[in-house]
Every structure is written in structure tokens, then in C-alpha cells.
């Protein structure tokens, strides 16, 4: 299958694919931002143990964790217009990217809500009590004391989610979205140089993932600057301890 390997094609494809990178990155950024909002909304009922809503969030999370993202994409792309038709809203002309972003936002939202929950539960209860004791309101305690610490704890998980999301967006081509992977499909079939296309494509994904990873690592170190971190091994140790703490709190809460 395909034509003989020719490095020139690889060099030729790289810039062509790169010219679609911004669409891929736009999908990632938009769906993660929306996903953060969704994640918060889904996490709150479980953090505050609100009776019925708590159950609903659980179901939501289970669904998005328990079904393949490809199916979720299809369900939203084909299902949502049908649903909206019932209330007489016509979305048949909407850009496919809208569905793609929505699907990835709902999907990441489920995972982000779990990350938020674990991180907030991972913050020592004594921190909130100290905040109350000096007279802070619940809102002040949450935003000034819990959230900054939870954010630091959740950065590694968030990093995984964003990088995972970047890779997952490659599936959007199945709906005909013209992002990087979509473009690679057309390039490959037009030229019959499959290997070159996919090497070029994977190079780009790899470089972007690495940049993201480094950025998050830097962010984490900044946010955790209050933890002892004289040398690199100390950071490792600190991280493990945080994780252990998170895990223990989760086990204690039976979650």
C-alpha cells in the first residue's frame, strides 16, 4: 500500500499540517476551558453532598468515564440536533467544530470534576477550620485558602487531562472536522504517502505534548513553592506525600 518512502514529502507535509495546528489547539483550549466550568458544576454537588444532584453527578461521571470518547462524539454530533429539533431549534447548519468542542468539553468535564474533588478533599481540613477561626466566610475560605492549595495538588492530573485531550482531538476527523489529523487524511490519500504523513503528524503531536508537559511542570513548581523543595528529589518526595494524603482522604471518605 502507498508509495515508496520519500523524506521530501515529510518535510513538505510538516508546514502543511502545522497550518492546521491552531484549529487543534483551539479545540483543546476551548474544550478545557468549558470543561473546567462543567467540572466545577459537576463537582460541587458531591463536595457539598447535595442529595439528589450528588447522585446525578455520579451518573454523569460514570457515563463519560465508562464509554469510548468516539461514541460520545457520535452521540453528540448525531443525537444533539435531534434532541434540539424537539424544541424547534435547528442546528443542522452549525459548524462541526461546535459539536466537537462540546463533546470534548463534556468529556473532560467529567474527569476534571474528579480531579477537583480529589484535590479539594486533599486539602487538610484544618486549613478551612483555621480560616473559619479567624472569621472568614465559607466563600473566603474556599477561594483564598482551599482553592489555591487544591489547584497546586491538581496540576499533575490536569496536565494529564490536557495532554490526553490534545491526543483525543485527533478523533474529530471522523466527523469531518478539518483539524490537523483531518488534514493529514486528505494529504495522505491525495499523495498516497501515508508513512510520511503520519510521521510528520506524530512529530507535531509529540512536540506539543512535550511543551505542555514542561509548562505544567513549571507551573506546578511555582504553585508548590511553599513546599520544601531544595533539590529535585525533595520535590519528588513532596509530590508523593501529597498523593498519599489525597488517597488517604479519599479512602477515609469512602470515595
Amino acid at each position: 500500500m502507498g508509495r515508496k518512502f520519500d523524506i521530501h514529502y515529510l518535510l513538505d507535509f510538516l508546514p502543511k499540517l502545522l497550518s492546521y495546528l491552531h484549529i487543534t489547539l483551539f479545540i483543546v483550549a476551548a474544550s478545557i476551558l468549558l470543561g473546567l466550568v462543567v467540572g466545577f458544576i459537576i463537582a460541587l454537588p458531591r463536595l457539598y453532598k447535595i442529595p439528589v444532584l450528588q447522585r446525578a453527578s455520579q451518573v454523569y461521571v460514570s457515563f463519560f468515564r465508562g464509554t469510548p470518547i468516539l461514541i460520545q462524539l457520535f452521540l453528540i454530533y448525531y443525537g444533539l440536533p435531534e434532541l434540539l429539533k424537539l424544541v424547534h431549534i435547528d442546528v443542522s447548519r452549525a459548524n462541526v467544530l461546535v459539536f466537537v468542542i462540546l463533546a470534548y468539553a463534556l468529556h473532560s468535564g467529567a474527569f476534571i470534576s474528579e480531579a477537583i474533588r480529589a484535590a479539594v478533599n486533599g486539602v487538610d481540613r484544618g486549613q478551612v477550620e483555621a480560616a473559619y477561626a479567624i472569621g472568614m466566610s465559607g466563600y473566603q475560605a474556599f477561594t483564598r485558602i482551599v482553592l489555591p492549595q487544591a489547584l497546586a495538588i491538581s496540576i499533575p492530573i490536569l496536565a494529564n487531562l490536557v495532554i490526553g485531550n490534545l491526543k483525543d482531538t485527533s478523533l474529530a476527523f471522523t466527523l469531518g472536522a478539518m483539524e490537523m489529523t483531518g488534514k493529514s487524511q486528505t494529504l495522505a490519500s491525495a499523495t498516497q504517502h501515508f508513512i510520511e504523513t503520519y510521521i510528520a503528524l506524530s512529530l507535531i503531536y509529540f512536540v506539543i505534548s512535550t511543551i505542555l508537559e514542561r509548562t505544567f511542570h513549571y507551573l506546578e513548581r511555582r504553585l508548590l513553592r511553599h513546599e520544601k523543595q531544595v533539590a529535585e528529589p525533595a520535590v519528588r518526595y513532596g509530590k508523593r506525600r501529597l498523593w498519599k494524603r489525597t488517597l488517604i482522604t479519599r479512602l477515609e471518605k469512602g470515595g
Partner: protein, 250 residues
């Protein structure tokens, strides 16, 4: 003056406080003693509304509150009149010593920033930490962290400071520095309620000692009375257990 009346608290079926009455005069240092599980921590937490009593009233100075009917505003008011020093310090981990002390002044009391900084620096100097203003809690020893905790409480200028076993999480060699600080501020006439197992400290510093067991106040009085000639059998046994008469001399 602080007055607690008929404070009761249950956790499920476990009644932890049974109608506690306690009066603390202004400037007094009250030490609460008692075996583990007797409700000492719960009582302190009720005063600061970290725990909601099922019943009872509290009066701090001219502020009165009935726990049964307390609303958000009352709780906020109550908490502004008291401060808590925790067994495990509970310093805000992502804030420096100075920021820990400033936080309440800025956010709750809404002082201007330089005023809050000035006051906080002063408090940290008072507890002997002038050199550690910019250190994070993880960079401080337990004793130093607890002294920041005390500075944080002091800075709020509360009518009473509640101490829950402030030295029991510390390595023995660090206990002294914290007790010295508490002793010093006791000398300045700040009202304090201290739960501790440090008998020497209780003898020296307390004006009033309260012995609790099983959720009730069994006996209370001057340190000389309570330590010297306790009336109740339970008090005698507890004191014997916790500080047995030395049978040898060093």
C-alpha cells in the same frame, strides 16, 4: 468576661458535653484538664463555633448568643471575638509567616495593607520570629510554626484566645519556647482558655483550673486548691495518673 451556659453537644448518640457552665473573668488564664475523650477539644470548638452546640448560650463581653437560634451574622460576630491556636498549628501552607498573620487583618478586619503588615510584623516580633517573616510553614520547626499560630491569633486582638493542646504535637525540646510565649502574653492580661497536659505550666500560669471528665466539669478552682487538695475522687485519680508524686529525686 466570658460566660458559657448549659452548653450541650452530642455526636449521634454520644453525648460529649452535658450542660457545661463556665465563667472566665477578663484577663484570666483558665486551664482545662481531663482525660482523653472528656470533651475538652469539643468545648473549645463550640466557643468558636467550629462545632455547633445543640444547646446553650454564650456571652463574650457585651455580645450574647443563643446557639439554638444563631444565624450567620451571629456566628461571624462570635468568631471575631475569639481566636484559636490549634494542636497541629493549621498555618495556611501556601502563605508565609507574615501572610498568615496578615490574612485575617486584611480579609476579615479589612485593615489597609501597610497597617496590617505593620501590626503583623509587630506580633511576629513579639513571639520571637522577626527573622522568619518570609518563611513558609514548611520551612519552620514545629515550635516556630506554633508561635506563628499564636501571633496570628494575637493579631486579631480577640477578647479570648483558645489554645487546644498547643504543645502536644511538638518535640519535647521545642515545648519550652512555645510555653514561654504563652506565658509572656498571659502576663499582658489577655484572656485565655488553655487545654493542656503540661501540669507545670498549669500550676504557674493558670488563675483557674477546670477538670473535665465524661462531658461534665467535675471540679474547678484555683490551681493551689485543685492540685493541692482536690475534692473529687475522679480528680485525685487523674492527677495521680498524669503527674505521679516523684518517688525518687534526681
Amino acid at each position: 468576661m466570658i460566660e458559657l451556659k448549659q452548653i450541650s453537644k452530642s455526636f449521634g448518640k454520644n453525648q460529649v458535653l452535658q450542660s457545661i457552665d463556665l465563667t472566665v473573668e477578663k484577663g484570666e488564664v483558665v486551664v482545662i484538664l481531663g482525660p482523653s475523650g472528656s470533651g475538652k477539644t469539643t468545648l473549645l470548638r463550640c466557643i468558636n463555633y467550629l462545632e455547633k452546640p445543640d444547646n446553650g448560650q454564650i456571652r463574650i463581653g457585651d455580645f450574647k448568643l443563643d446557639f439554638k437560634t444563631a444565624g450567620k451574622k451571629d456566628i461571624h460576630n462570635l468568631r471575631q471575638r475569639s481566636a484559636m491556636v490549634f494542636q497541629h498549628y493549621n498555618l495556611f501552607k501556601h502563605k508565609t509567616a507574615l501572610e498568615n498573620v496578615m490574612e485575617g487583618l486584611l480579609i476579615v478586619q479589612k485593615l489597609p495593607k501597610d497597617e496590617a503588615r505593620r501590626r503583623s510584623t509587630q506580633m511576629l516580633e513579639k513571639v520571637g520570629l522577626a527573622a522568619k517573616l518570609d518563611a513558609y510553614p514548611s520551612e519552620l520547626s514545629g515550635g516556630q510554626q506554633q508561635r506563628v499560630g499564636i501571633a496570628r491569633a494575637l493579631a486579631l486582638n480577640p477578647e479570648v484566645i483558645l489554645f487546644d493542646e498547643p504543645t502536644s504535637a511538638l518535640d519535647p525540646e521545642l515545648v519550652g519556647e512555645v510555653l514561654d510565649v504563652i506565658r509572656k502574653i498571659a502576663g499582658e492580661g489577655i484572656t485565655m482558655i488553655v487545654v493542656t497536659h503540661e501540669m507545670g505550666f498549669a500550676r504557674d500560669v493558670a488563675n483557674h483550673v477546670v477538670f473535665m471528665d465524661g462531658g461534665v466539669i467535675v471540679e474547678e478552682g484555683k490551681p493551689s486548691e485543685l492540685f493541692g487538695k482536690p475534692k473529687e475522687e475522679r480528680t485525685k485519680q487523674f492527677l495521680k495518673r498524669i503527674a505521679p508524686e516523684p518517688s525518687y529525686s534526681i
